[in-house]
Amino acid sequence: MNVDVLIVGAGPAGLAAAAELRRLAAGQVLVADREQQPGGVPRHSAHTGYGTRDLHRVLTGPAYARRYAAAATAAGAEIRAGTTVTGWAGNGRATLTGPSGIETVSARAVLLATGCRERPRPARLVPGDRPTGVMTTGELQQRVYLHGERLPGRALVVGAEHVSFSAVVTLAHAGADVVALVTELPRQQSYAAFALAALARWRVPVWTSTALRRVDGRDRLTAVDVADVRTGAVRRVECDTLVFTGDWIPDHELARAAGIAIDPGTRGPAVDTSLETSARNVFAAGNLVHAAETADVAALDGVHAARHIAAALRCREPAAAPGAPDHASGPPYRVPLAVEPPLAWISPNAIRFNASAGAGPPCRAPTSPPGTDPPGAPPTSSPDAGAALSPGAVPVPPPRGRFLLRSHVFQHRATLEVHQGNRVLARQRARLIPGRPVHLDAAWLARVRPSGGLVLVALAHG
């Protein structure tokens, strides 16, 4: 099967991109999702609060998921649920597996929107037994909201960020008695109002500066050991359910299988401001490139990527065979972007320059699909290696005109400083909370010198 765009993942980013691509008349769009229903994580997030930034209304997760799936379908995209993209067959061809068989799909462009997952207990190296009753929020939500399970007994939540409070709500819904939220950090990371509401309603304390040290229970979970990270004092907490929340990792398997460069900070595919990866015509959007933001942010990413994909396809030379590599043009022109500790990461990871300004994304050279770029290609290309830059080159703004950052530390009044070499491009006030988004307005992009090298975001000293 040949399509113009293959989208992997029917979550908010993938579905929003599909609808936008169809609106822009970008041709045939196929969205594959391995779950039985499209919608992504919102399918099993029964709480409200979805849709504020993108749809300008407040919906529950399932309603939001249904709305996006319906919009993509109405726009003419084909959504194939229960279908897994199992790998690449070279030259922009993907292998799809589903109940109807194994199919190879050739696409002129690919959008990876595979999302992210929470780091489960083993990946956090928590010692102890391996009893049942230990899960992530994702599993908890599916058990409770998709399969109607009850979870009576005492529950402990590891983490104190937004999703942790969401887990408290889900646990309460399932009949659990939530003992506490535990975090190694000195304070919780959710919005005060949200946290206070949850704490007041369910009387759940947050145990800060507290680490989980051991899980007990030969069969069912019976108890955990928690330690005060300041004093080292350990105490035992009896519980029947333990939920590991947050600590997101992108589902980057397909990106890595294609040899696409991974950003060491986000651990998702490295993308430039157009959301293109190191492989030509392969884009990535949503929580795959910034794990994890709210669904609306992912959806707006999808729209952003769709516009750049549409432009790339529009400008393609008609003579080129679908999926054929094109060696005539070099890689796109990019200026790398990075952060200094204690900042954790920035997304996107490079500033894209396009050859000319104008209404909408400009035309550019045809590019090659996954499987044709050498594995481990650098995420950003040096100016020397890049396409010749025309004098009118303009930087492509990131989705929503801002960069997303994360911090490893709390800092109430921080100043972010954007440098290129010795030049300070911008300063911006920010409040740093681990796991919470920090937005960096991209107004300074016009001051980036295309040949000026790495742009670095750091905390201003003093």
């Binding site: 109940p99 083993p122 399970e149």
Partner: protein
């Protein structure tokens, strides 16, 4: 206590359905005798068998002249052939034994010498440059290496299941959830005619008892009036399983050089496509304590960082601990007492998987010599064809023919391990079906992947509940009895 033949008694009861007990039951099932295979757990292979380094050893480094050396060599050859016929995942990756210190380097000639004495002649020393060429991600500082080309990795879960499946299909009665609580001899001293075992599921009468109780074999030995020549001292080994994305980092099993100070930690591929780091070795008292420890995991990550720094950059998929049934003896404790009609296969510390078929063959021979009549059954025994859960071959989701014949093989339920609805259905309806989620995991790999259930746990739980409530699996699960043999 009665004398004379007991028509209701089985000829042999094997206590312990680990890889060794299952292999013995399978071996005995080839003869015209009635056999019961009993285990306290609700599945086969839940003790030492399920948590080890999953290596099919050549036995190059066994103690020369030991029973272990002989049975390991024989068992390894038998299992290599059996695995091919039964569809048990095996990959002949070869091993590289890497010396990191001068002391370790000096030990290499004696290791080569030992391999020769064990009848294994393919070990050779390779230049350091070749080592790094073959394993470019190996950490810096390796001084020398030996290549053992026939060391392989194997699926430790499919192996005992294949044995048990073959045994059950040949008429062996598998009694799970059956803990032996006592034993009484039938017949007088010197004229013993059999045993009556008290279990948590009624009594089992048998003319012969085989003790393959692994971590509990000394207690079973005492129950049956054995000579008490050994005591089990569980040795805990903790292991870390890395994400499948780490698999391209190495091509061979990377073995440590054992020294007086430490046995060392290995890094090995698994047949599922993960990378294993471990084990630790800690003597403990509790025979059920398979918990991991902060110290154990920390020592593994430290060792792993030296052996292969990039490995530690990958995500950890699982951590676990296994208990090896070590004794005060270095060699296997295998003996047959004709007068007491009692056979014992114990003290099989960490080579039981590789040696299992050799042990079973040897023990059956000893029992035959001791008076158990072993007349072969009519018809040739053939291994069952087991569901394939390795990464090197073709899994159902990759098989267009299977999906076309049955779309359930195209319905991927567990995304990380790409386990299909069809495979789960088959496992639940198999000859030796799983009793719980862990059993299903061992049979299909469902939920053994990187997300550990983030995506599919709820769906899998629902599938299992559905089948338990009267689906096809419940109807065919009766081949395994949990009760008193007729």
């Amino acid at each position: 206590v009665t004398a004379g033949p007991d028509p209701e008694a089985a000829d042999v009861v094997v206590i312990g359905a680990g890889v060794v007990g299952a292999a013995i039951a399978r071996e005995l099932s080839r003869y015209q005798i009635t056999v019961v295979l009993a285990d306290a757990a609700n599945d086969v292979g839940t003790g030492t068998t399920k948590a080890n380094t999953a290596i099919l050893h050549t036995g190059f480094d066994a103690v020369p002249g030991s029973l272990e050396s002989r049975l390991l060599r024989r068992g390894s050859a038998l299992l290599t052939d059996y695995a091919r016929r039964a569809g048990i995942p095996v990959e002949r990756t070869g091993a590289l034994l890497v010396a990191w210190t001068a002391e370790q380097e000096q030990a290499l000639p004696s290791i080569m010498e030992r391999a020769q004495q064990n009848g294994y002649h393919a070990v050779r020393q390779i230049p350091v440059a070749e080592l790094y060429q073959r394993e470019p991600h190996l950490g810096p500082g390796a001084l020398a290496a030996l290549e053992i080309p026939d060391e392989s990795v194997i699926c430790p879960w499919t192996t005992p299941l294949a044995y048990a499946t073959e045994a059950v299909r040949a008429g062996v009665r598998l009694m799970l959830g059956t803990r032996v609580t006592g034993a009484q001899a039938q017949g007088g001293r010197g004229a013993l005619t059999g045993h009556v075992l008290s279990t948590t599921r009624g009594t089992i009468r048998a003319r012969w008892v085989v003790n393959a109780a692994g971590l509990h074999s000394d207690r079973v030995d005492a129950m049956l009036g054995g000579d008490g020549g050994f005591t089990i001292r569980p040795r805990r080994g903790e292991l870390i399983v890395f994400d499948k994305l780490a698999r391209p980092l190495l091509s061979s099993i990377l073995l440590p050089v054992p020294t007086a100070q430490s046995k060392g930690v290995l890094v090995a591929p698994t047949v599922y496509g993960n990378v294993l780091l471990g084990p630790t070795a800690q003597d403990i008292d509790d025979r059920g304590d398979t918990s991991t420890t902060a110290n154990g995991l920390a020592s593994l990550t430290e060792a792993g960082r030296r052996i292969m720094p990039l490995l530690l950059e990958e995500e950890v998929t699982a951590t676990y601990a296994g208990l090896r049934a070590a004794t005060e003896h270095r060699d296997y404790q295998i003996r047959v007492d004709a007068a007491r009609r009692y056979a014992c296969a114990a003290g099989i510390r960490s080579t039981g998987l590789s040696a299992s078929l050799g042990i079973a063959e040897h023990l059956a021979e000893l029992m035959g010599d001791a008076g158990l009549e072993l007349r072969p059954r009519n018809g040739s025994a053939a291994p069952p064809l087991m569901p394939y859960i390795g990464q090197a071959g073709t899994r159902p989701y990759q098989d267009a023919g299977m999906i076309a014949a049955d779309p359930d093989y195209g319905r991927i339920v567990c995304h990380c391990e790409r386990v299909t609805c069809g495979e789960i259905r088959d496992a639940l309806a198999s000859t030796v079906p799983p009793a719980d989620l862990d059993g299903l995991r061992r049979r299909t790999r469902v939920q053994n992947g990187r997300c550990q259930g983030f995506y599919c746990a709820a769906t899998v739980a629902a599938l299992m509940a559905e089948r338990a409530a009267g689906g096809p699996a419940a109807a065919t699960g009766q081949q395994v009895t949990a009760g008193r043999p007729a």
